[in-house]
Amino acid sequence: MATHADTRAHTDTKPHKGAAEQTPPAGRPFWAKWFEFLIERLIGAAGVSAILFVALIFFFLLREGIPTFLQVPLPQLFGSRWYPIEGMFGLWPLIVGSILVTAGAVIMAVPLGLITAIYLGEIAPQWQREILKPLIEVLAGIPSIVLGFLGWVALAPLVQRLGAPTGLTAFTGSLILAYMSLPTIISISEDALYAVPKEYRDGALAIGATQWQTIWRVVLPAARSGLVIAVMLGIGRAVGETMAVMMVTGNAANVPAFGLGMFFEPVRTMTATIAAEMGEVARGSLHYNVLFAIGIVLFIITFAINSLAGRLVGGQASRRKRGQL
């Protein structure tokens, strides 16, 4: 993840490189230098290959998706009707669907996840933590398709009882996604809180702050960059999830009217569209290209989220360098 690289860049240990190339001390075997060289190159190659793979994926997406933008006029591409077998390629309902489902999940999962992490890291006694942490890790290990199945069998009828005409709605998808991104958000923010030095808390308590004041004014700001990463990884998981969402959102390419009720209408997400339709398209057809264009849109959205996270974390780090925190 790009955000990790950003934070680490500030604590890079480049000055040591020169020191390593000095004459070896006596007693080191003769091949040590060559071995060192080999390992360094190997690690370097692994690092570069990651860049190469991302570049290749992006190149492939562009190659297969670009014909869309040449063949389908832009106003139609952002039209409100997705019905590919009749050549209607409006991406707008799919984008709205993905945004609705993800936004609902974020609204539910972020506060809940952060509060759970604060409880685990700052308030819970040791014995509770020993029970809760492994359980949260188990939660993270549940395959998404199992959650989707649960949502389809158990959650959808409940949502329908809330008064929606059908239980297969954006809200049902949001619930499943919130559930799915919770473990990510909790464990990463808990790690971030854990990384805050104990002296910060001691200092705050010593000048008479209450525990709540300590958490709100000292610990949370100090852990901010880690918390932002936790939230962004949670969102990332929500945006990209496919199968579970496909099972519970009803897959209707529908643009709900703006308002609170829009969460209780069926929607079709971009990921579910690719998954449902990839099997039927003939390679090289316009529909095939449009599905890749959806992939490009998804890529751009995740890229935007990541760079936003990078900027938020970056701002934090530079402020800390200036000694303002």
Binding site: Y83, P93, W127, E130, P134, Q160, P165, G279
Partner: protein, 305 residues
């Protein structure tokens, strides 16, 4: 360290619990509906893929044919008619199952790949329109169905039901049943009619998805192959061609004599006229043994030649 012990016990407990769940889940209670590979013989394997309407029938045929000719193994996969036809065009299956005829574009695409699709009707399916059992509506005309599925009628009271919103349930667009319904019901067989499904239509990835939503949602209306519905679980709607025609209830009998308006052929497609083991298999399917299985699974057998 007591904390460590607690964690260890918990993790072990979870592990055991999950293993148990995993084992029970793996016990073969029923044959899987989606994908089942018949054990590989050493002679000849036939790849058979496509229509979800046909998949259970294709599986039953493949299993029964195992007794007739143990040297041929048949691998059956679902996924939708479009999926099967795409696989035929790409040359990755021997037989594509389809619940609709191939379109002009698909035939052209196949020819461009050097494949001449060969069409074989293998059974007849009556397409049943289903609603929840609590719904008082029991008869609809094709016109009304068209208005309902295009979103011109949105409340059950407009067709003699309760004052409740209509929830539309359909298959995904890769389904041959979806295309058939679009052409024969929504567009009433008129090729120049531009009507399509209303945008709020729920698109289900499987036939079972439709029936289970209709069973639990009192306002839902959907459609499915006759082999997938049962009058005990859902309410089958009697359909009339127009308001002057009689309302006909879907059944094997009304499908076979053609009086039910929504009956259609189910097809198998091969690359060129079938030869060898594939021809033997298809002849067996169209023969009395194969057609007996068609009737047993709730579909309509082909008229005897």
């Amino acid at each position: 360290m007591p904390g460590y012990t607690i964690r260890l016990i918990l993790s072990a407990g979870c592990l055991i619990g999950m293993t148990w769940l995993g084992l029970t889940a793996c016990t073969p209670a029923q044959p899987a509906a989606e994908t089942t590979a018949i054990p590989l013989g050493d002679q000849r394997a036939i790849q058979n893929k496509g229509s979800d309407t046909l998949v259970n029938l294709a599986l039953a045929w493949a299993e029964a044919y195992q007794q007739v000719n143990p040297n041929v193994s048949i691998a059956v996969t679902g996924g939708g008619s479009g999926t099967g036809i795409a696989a035929l065009i790409n040359g990755t299956v021997d037989i594509a199952n389809s619940s609709r005829r191939m379109s002009e574009e698909e035939i052209a695409a196949a020819r461009a790949n050097g494949i001449e699709p060969y069409e074989i009707p293998v059974a007849i399916d009556a397409l049943a329109v289903i609603v929840n059992r609590q719904n008082p509506v029991s008869e609809l005309t094709i016109d009304q169905l068209s208005d309902i599925f295009t979103g011109r009628i949105t409340n059950w009271s407009e067709v003699g039901g309760n004052d409740a919103p209509i929830v539309l349930v359909s298959r995904e667009t890769n389904s041959g049943t979806h295309t058939y319904f679009l052409e024969q019901v929504i567009r009433k067989g008129d090729k120049n009619n531009p009507d399509i499904f209303a945008p709020q239509t729920l698109l289900m990835p499987s036939s079972v998805g439709i029936t289970s939503e209709v069973r639990r949602n009192p306002n839902a209306i959907g459609y499915d192959g006759l082999g997938y519905v049962s009058a005990e679980e859902e309410k089958l709607i009697a359909v009339a061609r127009d308001s002057r025609s009689p309302y006909i209830y879907p059944s094997v009998a009304t499908g076979a004599d053609g009086s039910y308006p929504l009956s259609r052929y189910l097809y198998m497609y091969t690359a060129g006229e079938p030869t060898g083991v594939i021809a033997d298999y298809i002849n067996w399917i169209r023969g009395p043994d194969g057609q007996a299985i068609v009737a047993r699974l709730g579909f309509v057998p082909l008229p005897s030649p």
